[in-house]
Amino acid sequence: MRRVFVVGVGMTRVGRRFDKGLGELAAEAIFRAIDDARGARPEALVVGNMMASSLFNQDNLGALVADYAGLRGVAAYHVEAACGSGGHAVVAGYSLVASGLYDVVLVVGVEKMCDYPTSVVTAALAQAADAEHELVYGISFPSLNALVMRLYMKTFGASREALAQWPVRMHEYGSRNPYAQLRFRISVDDVVRSPVIADPIRLLDSSPIGDGAAALVLASEDVARKLSDTPVEVAGVGMATDSVDLSSRMDLLDAPSVRLAAEKAYRMARVSPRDIDVAEVHDAFTVTGLLCLEALGFVERGKAWKEFADGRFGPGDKPSVNLSGGLKARGHPVGATGVYQVAEIAMQLRGDFPGVKAGSPSIGLAANFGGVATQTSVVVLRR
Protein backbone atom coordinates (compact mmCIF):
# COMPACT_ATOMS: atom_id res chain seq x y z
CA MET A 1 0.00 0.00 0.00
CA ARG A 2 1.42 3.39 -1.00
CA ARG A 3 1.73 5.87 1.81
CA VAL A 4 -0.52 8.92 1.50
CA PHE A 5 0.01 12.37 3.02
CA VAL A 6 -2.02 15.50 3.62
CA VAL A 7 0.13 18.25 2.11
CA GLY A 8 -2.33 21.12 2.01
CA VAL A 9 -5.50 22.25 3.76
CA GLY A 10 -7.97 25.04 3.11
CA MET A 11 -11.21 26.09 4.78
CA THR A 12 -13.80 28.83 4.62
CA ARG A 13 -15.33 30.16 7.80
CA VAL A 14 -18.64 28.40 8.27
CA GLY A 15 -21.63 30.71 8.14
CA ARG A 16 -24.00 32.49 5.80
CA ARG A 17 -22.32 32.79 2.45
CA PHE A 18 -25.01 34.33 0.31
CA ASP A 19 -22.27 35.71 -1.91
CA LYS A 20 -21.14 32.42 -3.36
CA GLY A 21 -22.74 29.42 -5.05
CA LEU A 22 -21.60 25.82 -4.67
CA GLY A 23 -18.86 26.05 -7.28
CA GLU A 24 -17.47 29.39 -6.06
CA LEU A 25 -17.49 28.37 -2.40
CA ALA A 26 -15.76 25.06 -3.12
CA ALA A 27 -13.20 26.93 -5.23
CA GLU A 28 -12.43 29.28 -2.33
CA ALA A 29 -11.39 26.35 -0.11
CA ILE A 30 -9.59 24.63 -2.98
CA PHE A 31 -7.50 27.71 -3.78
CA ARG A 32 -6.38 27.87 -0.15
CA ALA A 33 -5.49 24.19 -0.05
CA ILE A 34 -3.53 24.42 -3.28
CA ASP A 35 -1.66 27.49 -2.05
CA ASP A 36 -0.94 25.68 1.20
CA ALA A 37 0.53 22.84 -0.89
CA ARG A 38 2.86 25.13 -2.84
CA GLY A 39 0.67 25.35 -5.88
CA ALA A 40 0.16 21.60 -6.21
CA ARG A 41 -1.47 20.46 -9.44
CA PRO A 42 -4.18 17.93 -8.62
CA GLU A 43 -4.85 15.14 -11.11
CA ALA A 44 -8.14 14.15 -9.54
CA LEU A 45 -10.88 15.68 -7.40
CA VAL A 46 -13.34 14.05 -5.02
CA VAL A 47 -16.27 16.22 -3.92
CA GLY A 48 -18.16 15.47 -0.71
CA ASN A 49 -21.66 16.90 -0.66
CA MET A 50 -25.14 15.93 0.53
CA MET A 51 -27.65 18.53 -0.69
CA ALA A 52 -26.66 19.93 -4.08
CA SER A 53 -29.28 17.71 -5.66
CA SER A 54 -32.14 18.32 -3.26
CA LEU A 55 -31.57 22.06 -2.67
CA PHE A 56 -29.89 23.23 -5.90
CA ASN A 57 -30.97 20.77 -8.61
CA GLN A 58 -27.31 20.29 -9.38
CA ASP A 59 -25.78 16.91 -10.17
CA ASN A 60 -22.54 16.29 -12.06
CA LEU A 61 -21.01 18.03 -9.06
CA GLY A 62 -17.49 16.66 -9.48
CA ALA A 63 -17.16 18.22 -12.92
CA LEU A 64 -18.83 21.45 -11.82
CA VAL A 65 -16.46 22.02 -8.92
CA ALA A 66 -13.41 21.04 -10.99
CA ASP A 67 -14.30 23.63 -13.62
CA TYR A 68 -15.07 26.40 -11.13
CA ALA A 69 -11.71 25.79 -9.46
CA GLY A 70 -9.76 26.07 -12.71
CA LEU A 71 -9.18 22.31 -12.86
CA ARG A 72 -11.21 21.47 -15.96
CA GLY A 73 -10.13 18.12 -17.31
CA VAL A 74 -9.06 16.40 -14.09
CA ALA A 75 -10.69 13.15 -12.99
CA ALA A 76 -13.60 13.86 -10.65
CA TYR A 77 -16.58 12.39 -8.90
CA HIS A 78 -18.97 13.23 -6.11
CA VAL A 79 -19.32 11.11 -2.98
CA GLU A 80 -22.52 11.10 -0.95
CA ALA A 81 -22.92 9.61 2.50
CA ALA A 82 -25.42 12.18 3.86
CA CYS A 83 -23.81 14.22 6.68
CA GLY A 84 -20.85 11.84 6.37
CA SER A 85 -20.15 12.73 2.74
CA GLY A 86 -17.00 14.68 3.57
CA GLY A 87 -15.26 11.93 5.51
CA HIS A 88 -16.15 9.33 2.91
CA ALA A 89 -14.79 11.65 0.22
CA VAL A 90 -11.50 11.75 2.14
CA VAL A 91 -11.34 7.94 2.16
CA ALA A 92 -12.21 7.86 -1.54
CA GLY A 93 -9.45 10.39 -2.25
CA TYR A 94 -7.06 8.39 -0.10
CA SER A 95 -7.73 5.27 -2.18
CA LEU A 96 -7.13 7.14 -5.44
CA VAL A 97 -3.59 7.94 -4.24
CA ALA A 98 -2.89 4.70 -2.34
CA SER A 99 -3.91 2.65 -5.38
CA GLY A 100 -1.29 4.37 -7.49
CA LEU A 101 -3.87 5.84 -9.85
CA TYR A 102 -2.89 9.41 -9.06
CA ASP A 103 -0.09 11.14 -7.16
CA VAL A 104 -1.93 14.32 -6.21
CA VAL A 105 -5.63 14.29 -5.36
CA LEU A 106 -7.81 17.10 -4.12
CA VAL A 107 -10.68 16.38 -1.74
CA VAL A 108 -13.24 19.08 -1.12
CA GLY A 109 -16.39 19.08 0.96
CA VAL A 110 -18.94 21.77 0.22
CA GLU A 111 -22.44 22.50 1.44
CA LYS A 112 -24.79 25.44 1.16
CA MET A 113 -27.71 25.36 3.60
CA CYS A 114 -28.51 29.01 4.37
CA ASP A 115 -30.30 29.94 1.16
CA TYR A 116 -33.54 28.27 2.21
CA PRO A 117 -35.97 28.47 5.14
CA THR A 118 -35.42 26.01 8.01
CA SER A 119 -38.38 23.85 6.98
CA VAL A 120 -36.84 23.26 3.55
CA VAL A 121 -33.44 22.45 5.02
CA THR A 122 -35.11 20.18 7.58
CA ALA A 123 -36.77 18.28 4.73
CA ALA A 124 -33.46 17.96 2.87
CA LEU A 125 -31.65 16.76 6.00
CA ALA A 126 -34.39 14.20 6.57
CA GLN A 127 -33.20 12.51 3.37
CA ALA A 128 -30.58 10.91 5.62
CA ALA A 129 -33.47 8.90 7.09
CA ASP A 130 -35.53 6.12 5.48
CA ALA A 131 -37.74 7.97 3.01
CA GLU A 132 -40.42 5.26 2.92
CA HIS A 133 -40.75 4.63 6.65
CA GLU A 134 -39.46 7.71 8.48
CA LEU A 135 -39.39 10.83 6.30
CA VAL A 136 -42.87 10.03 4.98
CA TYR A 137 -44.28 10.61 8.48
CA GLY A 138 -42.66 14.02 8.75
CA ILE A 139 -40.08 12.74 11.21
CA SER A 140 -37.06 15.04 11.18
CA PHE A 141 -33.41 14.25 11.62
CA PRO A 142 -33.17 16.02 15.01
CA SER A 143 -36.14 13.91 16.10
CA LEU A 144 -34.30 10.66 15.37
CA ASN A 145 -31.41 11.85 17.48
CA ALA A 146 -33.78 12.97 20.22
CA LEU A 147 -35.06 9.37 20.47
CA VAL A 148 -31.50 8.28 21.14
CA MET A 149 -30.81 11.13 23.57
CA ARG A 150 -33.85 10.36 25.73
CA LEU A 151 -32.88 6.68 25.84
CA TYR A 152 -29.25 7.53 26.64
CA MET A 153 -30.21 9.77 29.54
CA LYS A 154 -32.64 7.25 30.98
CA THR A 155 -30.41 4.19 30.53
CA PHE A 156 -27.21 5.72 31.83
CA GLY A 157 -28.72 8.13 34.35
CA ALA A 158 -27.33 11.21 32.66
CA SER A 159 -28.83 14.51 33.72
CA ARG A 160 -29.91 17.29 31.39
CA GLU A 161 -27.35 19.60 33.01
CA ALA A 162 -24.50 17.14 32.60
CA LEU A 163 -25.22 16.76 28.90
CA ALA A 164 -25.29 20.53 28.52
CA GLN A 165 -21.58 20.56 29.30
CA TRP A 166 -20.92 19.37 25.77
CA PRO A 167 -22.26 22.43 23.93
CA VAL A 168 -20.84 24.74 26.59
CA ARG A 169 -17.35 23.43 26.02
CA MET A 170 -17.78 23.39 22.24
CA HIS A 171 -18.73 27.05 22.23
CA GLU A 172 -15.74 27.82 24.44
CA TYR A 173 -13.44 26.21 21.85
CA GLY A 174 -15.38 27.62 18.92
CA SER A 175 -15.00 31.16 20.26
CA ARG A 176 -11.26 30.81 19.64
CA ASN A 177 -11.43 29.23 16.18
CA PRO A 178 -11.44 31.83 13.39
CA TYR A 179 -13.18 29.35 11.05
CA ALA A 180 -16.01 28.61 13.49
CA GLN A 181 -19.58 29.65 12.76
CA LEU A 182 -20.54 30.27 16.42
CA ARG A 183 -17.86 32.30 18.15
CA PHE A 184 -19.60 33.09 21.43
CA ARG A 185 -19.67 31.41 24.80
CA ILE A 186 -22.76 29.90 26.37
CA SER A 187 -23.69 28.59 29.81
CA VAL A 188 -25.44 25.42 30.95
CA ASP A 189 -28.41 27.62 31.65
CA ASP A 190 -28.41 28.90 28.08
CA VAL A 191 -28.51 25.33 26.83
CA VAL A 192 -31.31 24.03 29.03
CA ARG A 193 -33.44 27.10 28.32
CA SER A 194 -32.86 27.29 24.60
CA PRO A 195 -35.85 26.61 22.34
CA VAL A 196 -36.95 23.00 21.99
CA ILE A 197 -36.42 21.59 18.49
CA ALA A 198 -37.34 17.98 19.15
CA ASP A 199 -37.70 17.36 22.85
CA PRO A 200 -35.33 16.48 24.55
CA ILE A 201 -33.07 18.14 21.90
CA ARG A 202 -32.88 21.89 22.26
CA LEU A 203 -31.43 24.43 19.87
CA LEU A 204 -28.10 24.48 21.69
CA ASP A 205 -27.78 20.69 21.62
CA SER A 206 -27.88 20.90 17.87
CA SER A 207 -25.30 21.92 15.31
CA PRO A 208 -26.30 25.06 13.40
CA ILE A 209 -27.25 25.39 9.73
CA GLY A 210 -24.31 26.80 7.80
CA ASP A 211 -22.54 27.16 4.47
CA GLY A 212 -18.96 26.02 4.19
CA ALA A 213 -16.23 24.33 2.22
CA ALA A 214 -13.02 22.62 3.24
CA ALA A 215 -10.33 21.08 1.07
CA LEU A 216 -7.31 18.82 1.36
CA VAL A 217 -4.47 18.08 -1.00
CA LEU A 218 -3.42 14.44 -0.68
CA ALA A 219 -0.16 13.22 -2.18
CA SER A 220 1.94 10.11 -2.50
CA GLU A 221 5.12 9.87 -0.48
CA ASP A 222 7.70 11.13 -2.97
CA VAL A 223 5.52 13.98 -4.18
CA ALA A 224 4.53 14.93 -0.63
CA ARG A 225 8.06 15.92 0.25
CA LYS A 226 8.12 18.44 -2.56
CA LEU A 227 4.79 19.98 -1.66
CA SER A 228 5.14 20.34 2.09
CA ASP A 229 7.71 20.62 4.86
CA THR A 230 5.14 19.26 7.29
CA PRO A 231 3.31 16.45 5.52
CA VAL A 232 0.87 14.57 7.75
CA GLU A 233 0.42 10.90 7.02
CA VAL A 234 -2.97 9.31 6.53
CA ALA A 235 -2.02 6.32 8.64
CA GLY A 236 -5.34 4.54 8.74
CA VAL A 237 -8.83 4.76 7.28
CA GLY A 238 -12.00 2.80 7.92
CA MET A 239 -15.63 2.89 6.90
CA ALA A 240 -18.68 0.95 8.10
CA THR A 241 -22.46 0.99 7.95
CA ASP A 242 -25.60 0.37 9.96
CA SER A 243 -29.25 0.36 8.88
CA VAL A 244 -30.74 3.60 7.59
CA ASP A 245 -33.99 2.92 9.45
CA LEU A 246 -33.78 3.12 13.23
CA SER A 247 -36.50 0.46 13.59
CA SER A 248 -34.19 -2.46 12.91
CA ARG A 249 -31.17 -1.22 14.86
CA MET A 250 -29.84 -3.89 17.19
CA ASP A 251 -29.03 -1.45 19.99
CA LEU A 252 -29.78 2.26 19.79
CA LEU A 253 -27.07 3.11 22.33
CA ASP A 254 -24.34 1.38 20.39
CA ALA A 255 -22.85 2.87 17.24
CA PRO A 256 -21.46 -0.20 15.47
CA SER A 257 -20.60 1.71 12.30
CA VAL A 258 -18.31 3.95 14.37
CA ARG A 259 -16.86 0.98 16.19
CA LEU A 260 -16.19 -1.05 13.04
CA ALA A 261 -14.78 1.88 11.07
CA ALA A 262 -12.49 2.74 13.97
CA GLU A 263 -11.29 -0.85 14.36
CA LYS A 264 -10.30 -0.92 10.72
CA ALA A 265 -8.53 2.44 10.93
CA TYR A 266 -6.74 1.57 14.18
CA ARG A 267 -5.58 -1.77 12.80
CA MET A 268 -4.28 -0.18 9.64
CA ALA A 269 -2.45 2.57 11.56
CA ARG A 270 -1.28 0.03 14.16
CA VAL A 271 -2.59 2.12 17.03
CA SER A 272 -5.14 1.71 19.80
CA PRO A 273 -7.65 4.27 21.11
CA ARG A 274 -5.18 5.06 23.91
CA ASP A 275 -2.66 6.32 21.35
CA ILE A 276 -4.89 9.07 19.97
CA ASP A 277 -3.76 12.53 21.07
CA VAL A 278 -6.37 14.65 19.39
CA ALA A 279 -9.74 13.87 17.84
CA GLU A 280 -12.60 15.51 16.03
CA VAL A 281 -15.86 13.59 16.50
CA HIS A 282 -19.34 13.93 15.02
CA ASP A 283 -21.37 15.96 17.52
CA ALA A 284 -24.21 16.89 15.19
CA PHE A 285 -26.13 16.66 18.46
CA THR A 286 -24.83 16.42 22.02
CA VAL A 287 -25.71 12.74 22.23
CA THR A 288 -23.91 11.77 19.00
CA GLY A 289 -20.71 13.32 20.36
CA LEU A 290 -21.00 11.15 23.45
CA LEU A 291 -21.79 7.99 21.47
CA CYS A 292 -18.71 8.67 19.32
CA LEU A 293 -16.41 8.85 22.35
CA GLU A 294 -17.75 5.50 23.53
CA ALA A 295 -17.75 3.70 20.18
CA LEU A 296 -14.25 4.97 19.36
CA GLY A 297 -13.03 3.27 22.53
CA PHE A 298 -12.01 6.45 24.36
CA VAL A 299 -14.33 5.70 27.27
CA GLU A 300 -16.60 2.87 28.37
CA ARG A 301 -20.18 2.56 27.17
CA GLY A 302 -22.53 4.82 29.11
CA LYS A 303 -19.74 6.82 30.74
CA ALA A 304 -18.89 9.51 28.21
CA TRP A 305 -21.42 11.99 29.60
CA LYS A 306 -19.93 11.71 33.10
CA GLU A 307 -16.29 11.88 32.14
CA PHE A 308 -16.91 14.74 29.75
CA ALA A 309 -18.91 16.67 32.36
CA ASP A 310 -16.09 16.03 34.84
CA GLY A 311 -13.73 17.87 32.51
CA ARG A 312 -12.02 15.10 30.57
CA PHE A 313 -11.17 15.37 26.86
CA GLY A 314 -9.88 18.93 27.14
CA PRO A 315 -6.69 20.34 25.61
CA GLY A 316 -3.73 18.20 26.68
CA ASP A 317 -5.93 15.23 27.57
CA LYS A 318 -5.61 12.01 25.65
CA PRO A 319 -7.39 12.53 23.43
CA SER A 320 -8.39 16.15 23.43
CA VAL A 321 -11.69 16.30 21.60
CA ASN A 322 -13.22 18.80 19.18
CA LEU A 323 -10.90 21.70 19.87
CA SER A 324 -12.33 23.25 16.69
CA GLY A 325 -15.62 23.66 18.52
CA GLY A 326 -16.98 20.56 16.83
CA LEU A 327 -20.06 20.42 14.65
CA LYS A 328 -21.79 22.32 17.46
CA ALA A 329 -19.75 25.52 17.25
CA ARG A 330 -17.39 25.28 14.27
CA GLY A 331 -20.55 24.43 12.39
CA HIS A 332 -21.89 21.56 10.33
CA PRO A 333 -22.18 22.30 6.62
CA VAL A 334 -23.15 18.68 6.35
CA GLY A 335 -21.29 17.30 3.33
CA ALA A 336 -18.22 19.40 4.13
CA THR A 337 -17.89 18.55 7.81
CA GLY A 338 -15.75 15.42 7.45
CA VAL A 339 -13.21 17.37 5.41
CA TYR A 340 -13.12 20.19 7.99
CA GLN A 341 -12.36 17.59 10.65
CA VAL A 342 -9.43 16.06 8.80
CA ALA A 343 -8.08 19.50 7.92
CA GLU A 344 -8.27 20.55 11.57
CA ILE A 345 -6.52 17.41 12.80
CA ALA A 346 -3.83 17.83 10.14
CA MET A 347 -3.26 21.39 11.36
CA GLN A 348 -3.16 20.26 14.99
CA LEU A 349 -0.45 17.77 14.04
CA ARG A 350 1.46 20.40 12.05
CA GLY A 351 1.11 22.76 14.98
CA ASP A 352 -0.55 25.56 13.04
CA PHE A 353 -4.21 25.17 13.99
CA PRO A 354 -5.31 28.75 14.66
CA GLY A 355 -7.64 27.94 17.59
CA VAL A 356 -7.23 25.99 20.82
CA LYS A 357 -4.18 23.76 20.43
CA ALA A 358 -3.76 20.18 21.57
CA GLY A 359 -0.16 20.66 22.67
CA SER A 360 2.27 18.58 20.62
CA PRO A 361 0.09 15.76 19.37
CA SER A 362 1.54 13.08 17.14
CA ILE A 363 -1.53 10.96 16.37
CA GLY A 364 -4.97 12.32 15.55
CA LEU A 365 -8.36 10.97 14.50
CA ALA A 366 -11.44 12.25 12.70
CA ALA A 367 -14.81 10.48 12.90
CA ASN A 368 -17.64 11.63 10.66
CA PHE A 369 -20.97 9.98 9.97
CA GLY A 370 -24.09 10.26 7.87
CA GLY A 371 -27.48 9.68 9.49
CA VAL A 372 -27.66 8.51 13.09
CA ALA A 373 -24.27 6.79 12.84
CA THR A 374 -25.63 5.15 9.69
CA GLN A 375 -22.40 5.25 7.76
CA THR A 376 -19.16 6.28 9.34
CA SER A 377 -15.65 7.05 8.20
CA VAL A 378 -12.71 7.18 10.56
CA VAL A 379 -9.37 8.65 9.53
CA VAL A 380 -6.22 8.33 11.62
CA LEU A 381 -3.47 10.86 10.92
CA ARG A 382 0.12 10.76 12.06
CA ARG A 383 2.76 13.49 12.21
Binding site: S119, E132, H133, R249, M250
Partner: protein
Protein backbone atom coordinates in the same frame (compact mmCIF):
# COMPACT_ATOMS: atom_id res chain seq x y z
CA UNK B 1 -41.73 14.47 -0.77
CA UNK B 2 -42.37 13.25 -4.29
CA UNK B 3 -45.05 10.59 -4.46
CA UNK B 4 -46.19 8.29 -7.24
CA UNK B 5 -48.84 5.58 -7.38
CA UNK B 6 -46.18 2.87 -7.85
CA UNK B 7 -44.19 4.12 -4.92
CA UNK B 8 -47.18 4.17 -2.61
CA UNK B 9 -48.33 0.77 -3.85
CA UNK B 10 -44.96 -0.83 -3.19
CA UNK B 11 -45.05 0.19 0.46
CA UNK B 12 -48.59 -1.09 1.05
CA UNK B 13 -47.44 -4.09 3.10
CA UNK B 14 -45.21 -2.20 5.47
CA UNK B 15 -47.16 1.04 5.64
CA UNK B 16 -50.79 -0.15 5.59
CA UNK B 17 -50.53 -3.52 7.30
CA UNK B 18 -47.38 -3.40 9.45
CA UNK B 19 -45.67 -6.24 7.64
CA UNK B 20 -42.09 -7.08 8.51
CA UNK B 21 -39.68 -9.82 7.52
CA UNK B 22 -38.63 -12.93 9.36
CA UNK B 23 -35.39 -14.78 8.71
CA UNK B 24 -36.00 -18.50 8.32
CA UNK B 25 -32.35 -19.20 9.14
CA UNK B 26 -31.69 -17.29 12.36
CA UNK B 27 -35.25 -16.41 13.34
CA UNK B 28 -34.67 -12.65 13.49
CA UNK B 29 -37.83 -10.69 12.77
CA UNK B 30 -37.56 -7.05 11.76
CA UNK B 31 -39.26 -3.98 10.37
CA UNK B 32 -39.31 -2.64 7.67
CA UNK B 33 -39.23 -5.76 5.48
CA UNK B 34 -36.07 -6.33 3.42
CA UNK B 35 -34.87 -8.99 0.99
CA UNK B 36 -32.11 -10.18 3.33
CA UNK B 37 -31.59 -10.62 7.04
CA UNK B 38 -29.73 -7.73 8.73
CA UNK B 39 -28.43 -10.10 11.38
CA UNK B 40 -27.08 -13.09 9.45
CA UNK B 41 -27.26 -11.90 5.84
CA UNK B 42 -29.48 -14.79 4.74
CA UNK B 43 -31.82 -14.23 1.78
CA UNK B 44 -34.14 -16.85 3.18
CA UNK B 45 -36.63 -14.36 4.56
CA UNK B 46 -40.44 -14.29 4.54
CA UNK B 47 -43.02 -11.56 4.95
CA UNK B 48 -44.77 -11.66 8.30
CA UNK B 49 -47.62 -9.74 9.84
CA UNK B 50 -46.46 -7.89 12.95
CA UNK B 51 -48.73 -7.41 15.98
CA UNK B 52 -50.32 -3.94 16.03
CA UNK B 53 -49.77 -3.33 19.75
CA UNK B 54 -46.64 -2.38 21.57
CA UNK B 55 -45.00 -0.26 24.23
CA UNK B 56 -43.12 3.01 23.96
CA UNK B 57 -39.35 2.61 24.34
CA UNK B 58 -38.34 6.20 23.67
CA UNK B 59 -39.93 9.25 22.08
CA UNK B 60 -39.31 12.76 20.80
CA UNK B 61 -41.64 15.73 20.51
CA UNK B 62 -40.73 17.49 17.34
CA UNK B 63 -41.58 21.17 16.93
CA UNK B 64 -39.47 21.97 13.88
CA UNK B 65 -40.98 20.00 11.02
CA UNK B 66 -40.01 19.51 7.39
CA UNK B 67 -41.67 21.57 4.65
CA UNK B 68 -45.15 20.17 4.03
CA UNK B 69 -45.82 19.06 7.61
CA UNK B 70 -46.48 22.43 9.24
CA UNK B 71 -50.10 21.63 10.01
CA UNK B 72 -49.09 18.48 11.88
CA UNK B 73 -46.58 20.02 14.31
CA UNK B 74 -45.71 19.02 16.94
CA UNK B 75 -45.04 15.50 15.71
CA UNK B 76 -44.41 12.78 18.30
CA UNK B 77 -41.86 10.27 17.00
CA UNK B 78 -41.33 7.10 18.96
CA UNK B 79 -39.71 3.71 18.99
CA UNK B 80 -42.39 1.15 19.79
CA UNK B 81 -41.54 -2.36 20.90
CA UNK B 82 -44.31 -4.56 19.54
CA UNK B 83 -45.71 -7.50 21.49
CA UNK B 84 -43.35 -9.91 19.70
CA UNK B 85 -40.29 -7.82 20.52
CA UNK B 86 -39.88 -6.24 17.08
CA UNK B 87 -39.18 -2.51 17.18
CA UNK B 88 -40.87 0.00 14.92
CA UNK B 89 -40.18 3.69 14.51
CA UNK B 90 -43.42 5.59 14.08
CA UNK B 91 -45.45 8.56 15.20
CA UNK B 92 -47.98 8.73 18.03
CA UNK B 93 -51.14 10.78 17.56
CA UNK B 94 -54.37 11.51 19.44
CA UNK B 95 -52.47 12.25 22.63
CA UNK B 96 -51.09 15.28 24.41
CA UNK B 97 -47.31 14.94 24.06
CA UNK B 98 -46.86 15.65 27.76
CA UNK B 99 -48.84 12.50 28.61
CA UNK B 100 -46.53 10.08 26.84
CA UNK B 101 -44.72 7.79 29.24
CA UNK B 102 -42.11 5.07 29.04
CA UNK B 103 -43.77 1.74 28.48
CA UNK B 104 -47.10 3.25 27.49
CA UNK B 105 -49.16 0.86 25.35
CA UNK B 106 -50.03 2.04 21.85
CA UNK B 107 -51.74 0.53 18.84
CA UNK B 108 -51.31 1.04 15.09
CA UNK B 109 -54.12 2.59 13.05
CA UNK B 110 -54.33 3.53 9.39
CA UNK B 111 -54.25 7.30 8.95
CA UNK B 112 -53.51 9.96 6.38
CA UNK B 113 -49.80 10.77 6.62
CA UNK B 114 -48.82 13.17 3.84
CA UNK B 115 -49.98 14.95 0.72
CA UNK B 116 -48.11 15.64 -2.50
CA UNK B 117 -49.02 19.33 -2.64
CA UNK B 118 -52.61 20.54 -2.96
CA UNK B 119 -53.58 18.38 -5.91
CA UNK B 120 -51.32 15.33 -5.67
CA UNK B 121 -51.68 11.91 -4.14
CA UNK B 122 -52.54 11.41 -0.51
CA UNK B 123 -50.28 9.01 1.34
CA UNK B 124 -51.72 6.76 4.00
CA UNK B 125 -49.83 4.85 6.64
CA UNK B 126 -49.89 3.58 10.18
CA UNK B 127 -49.81 5.87 13.17
CA UNK B 128 -49.88 4.77 16.75
CA UNK B 129 -52.57 5.84 19.21
CA UNK B 130 -52.86 5.15 22.93
CA UNK B 131 -54.35 1.66 23.27
CA UNK B 132 -57.59 1.12 25.11
CA UNK B 133 -57.02 -0.78 28.36
CA UNK B 134 -57.65 -4.49 28.54
Amino acid sequence: MKVSPARVWRARGSRYRLEGSRCRDCGFTFYPPKPACPKCGSRNVERVQLPPRGRVVTWAVQYTVPEGFRSRAPIVAAIIELENGVRVLGTIVDVDPSEIRDGMTVEAQLRRVAEDGDEGLIVYGLKFVPAPRG
